[in-house]
Amino acid sequence: MTTTTERPGVVEEAPPTTTIYRRPKSTEGFWGWVTTTDHKKIGIMYGYAAFFFFIVGGVEALLLRIHLASANSEFLTAGAYNALFSMHGATMIFLFVMPASAAFVNYLLPLMIGARDVAFPRLNALSWWAFLFGGIFMYSALFFGTGLAPTGVENVVGNLAEGGRPGGLNFLADMPDGGWFLYQPNAGPDFSPGTGIDFALLGIQILGVASLVAAVNFIVTIFNFRAKGMRLLRMPVFVWMTMVTQFLLLFSLPIIAIALFMATFDRNFGAMFFDATGGGDPILWQHLFWLFGHPEVYILVLPAMGMVSEVLPVFSRKPLFGYSAVIFAGAAIGFLGFGVWAHHMFATGISPVAQAAFGLSTMTIAIPTGIKIFNWMGTMWMGKLRFSTPLLFAIGFVAMFVIGGLSGVTHSIVPSDWQQTDTYYIVAHFHYVLFGGSVFGLFAGIYYWFPKISGRMLGEGLGKVHFWLMFIGFNLTFGPMHWLGLQGMVRRTWKYDPATGLEPWNIAVTVGAFIIALSIAVFIYNWWSSRRRGAPSGLDPWDARTVEWTVPNPTPVYNFATTPVITRLDDFWHRKYTTDDEGRAVRRPEADQMIADLEYDGRNPKTEIHLPAPSYFPLLLASGMPFIGWGIIWHTTTWGLGMVVLGVLLIVSGGIGWALEPLEEAHEEDHPHDEADEDEETHETEGASDVGRASESADTTEPVETS
């Protein structure tokens, strides 16, 4: 067999004929990664990119913290400060937590439901590349952006163009500086006349396309590609939470897309949507933004909740307590998440009826959240807790999320929220939810599933050092922020008066931030050394419960040598364990042999397995998006228009190539259902059925061809 990595380049030449084509394992080369449609590789790329942006966002946070450690600090200019807090938020949300969740979903979703890939592998690659180009586009503001002060001020003597002063990292002020929330009209054409904001608007738009495509893809995957017997109520909780998340994305992204378009039209084409002088209503932006923004919070935290729901049972050696209650609670959180957006706007002067209604709906979210927390505790209760690193992070998640949840309830007390909103109390609250929640959950997932991608264990000792450093640093950073907010420190504040007495607390916060940074350094070292020297994990290092652990580690390209048949929830566990009269778990005598067989069979498929072929076209198509973005920003110039043309050309050529390329090499002999004459020619496929076909053909009885 030839290697797959060359193939996409030659697709416009003679159509490949009936090559029976098996994906080689040696696709480690550069082009192997660039052209891959394998959900695992895409997941890994998502993961590394997300981690890279985590570091970027973290460095931004550290700069902010150095600045805020002293009152009236001049370490950063106002422009640089505003750009840094805006980009810290946007980066952590759109470029770290969302893609990190996407990394896990990509890697694990097909494995957990017993599929060979997602429904649309090339759309999956498109999502990934669109995400990457969206991130690059957003940060290209650092090089191409301008962050001008309000109209009329830019020429005022004494104001630098960016509205800062020399030094103080003022060059950073060219990045988007309207906050991740981009409130209008401050982020509109009159008050942010530079191009910085446009990079945020269009960048998030591109990232939205990536997430929307992924949402459709994952929803179809979950509904149509579960292994036989994997009924909805046998799916792991992580899959359930993924499904809820994808529906939230599906329904919330179009809303933000419109809001971003409206702002883009305002800024670049003179539309009047948010221009108050022309009758535009700035509050409309907030409604649209938070209609997306609140579901977004659950988009960020639900996957982590799913991961914790996977980790806790394994390390408690008990099934998840109240499986259906946890799922129902997750769905309820997702559903209610659409009905609470205006609680971000209690101080905007919306009517008292609206305030009361949204206050009440916000309170109700506490109920399903509580159900989850109690069920997680119920899972550990009476268990046999092995305090491995994943469990530490999972318990850290639960403990910290309780704090974030409780401070969240204090916001639903509307009048009380009039004091808290826009202060560091809110900053503390959502970091307890998103860092104490999402990030701790993600690290639980990383330690737990690291063997799945590497075949090795992440170091336990360093892992525990990492956990405790992070746990202490986290609480030292964000705990005092509650107090800071209640003492009147407003958010997004470049300077605070020393007379407010806030400085000592801010010093503590900054120290905490550096402890978190240290913990991340420990993690990076741990990752780096464990990749090379970690203990081999074997097939089932954690005595796990779900089917992704029934295949060898690292996962073979085809995932399952034989597609599994699922007979119950936690199928793998029940194949290993039965219960005695008291209901205690007893390992079946044949379990070890079964695992050895799984290991052997997993590495030696009995049948030919057809997998989706690599493709250049998702990359090509996605690469057009940033060019259109740049073109819109400079649409008044000739070369700006040229950029638009180039972008459209890239998208169209990518689309045409995509439509004419078969998902996998044709192998008609496997397809008695196909009309041979037709299929030779009309490979204009979007190939959902092809993946289905891939697994179908796995069970045909062709001999293995080894090359």
Partner: protein, 209 residues
């Protein structure tokens, strides 16, 4: 019904053997899922328009005062009938009547183009004759962006119809079994039509009266 139709069923059932699934083509499911999210997209645009359409104190002209209802009624009717030709194309394909399929596909694209031409003409009239541009007022911005995004959807639909027509021509046959197919494009096309049904009523008929 026909051999072709059964072929599709078999594919779906094959999935069913291997997977727990909804028992339908994944691409079709994906299209429906995508379309359901489009409601939120157009809904936001319409909200935008409705919010401003009756707000006093905006710069003249309000779109509601300059609509040419007879003209728009005709173009709405044209788009509505394009849904008929679309469904006839699909029905022809189910009968495996490739020639008629191509004819109806082309007719659909042509009707869509007439609608789009009407929209361009309407924009042109509004801008040159009535002096309402994107920058006139929030309600004018909302009108242009709403109908413009709908027009963009129509344009993308026309492109897809023409590619199907072209593929059918050059390769002699279309199928609903795989990839970029008549049924998917049809779903998309009808969706664009129902969005216009709502826009026509809510934006044109109701906001003038």
């Amino acid at each position: 019904m026909t051999d072709l139709a059964h072929e599709g069923d078999v594919t779906a059932e094959d999935h069913h053997d291997e997977h727990e699934s909804l028992g339908m083509d994944a691409r079709k499911l994906g299209m429906w899922v995508f379309l359901s999210s489009e409601f939120l997209f157009f809904g936001a645009l319409m909200t935008n328009y409705l919010l401003y359409s009756n707000r006093p104190g905006l710069a003249d002209p309000y779109p509601g005062t300059i609509y040419d209802i007879p003209f728009t009624s005709v173009s709405s009717f044209v788009l509505l009938m394009s849904s008929l030709t679309m469904v006839l194309a699909h029905a022809a394909l189910e009968r495996d009547d490739q020639h008629q399929t191509r004819t109806w596909l082309f007719a659909t694209a042509a009707l869509g183009s007439i609608f789009l031409g009407g929209q361009v003409f309407e924009f042109y009239e509004f801008i040159t004759h009535d002096g309402m541009t994107l920058t006139t007022s929030p309600v004018a911005s909302a009108f242009y962006v709403l109908t413009g995004f709908h027009g963009l959807h129509v344009a993308i639909g026309i492109l897809m119809l023409l590619s199907l027509w072209g593929i059918g021509h050059s390769q002699g046959a279309l199928s609903d079994k795989r990839g970029f197919n008549v049924e998917l494009v049809g779903l998309y096309w009808h969706f664009v039509d129902i969005i216009w049904i709502v826009i026509f009523t809510v934006v044109y008929l109701l906001s003038t009266s």
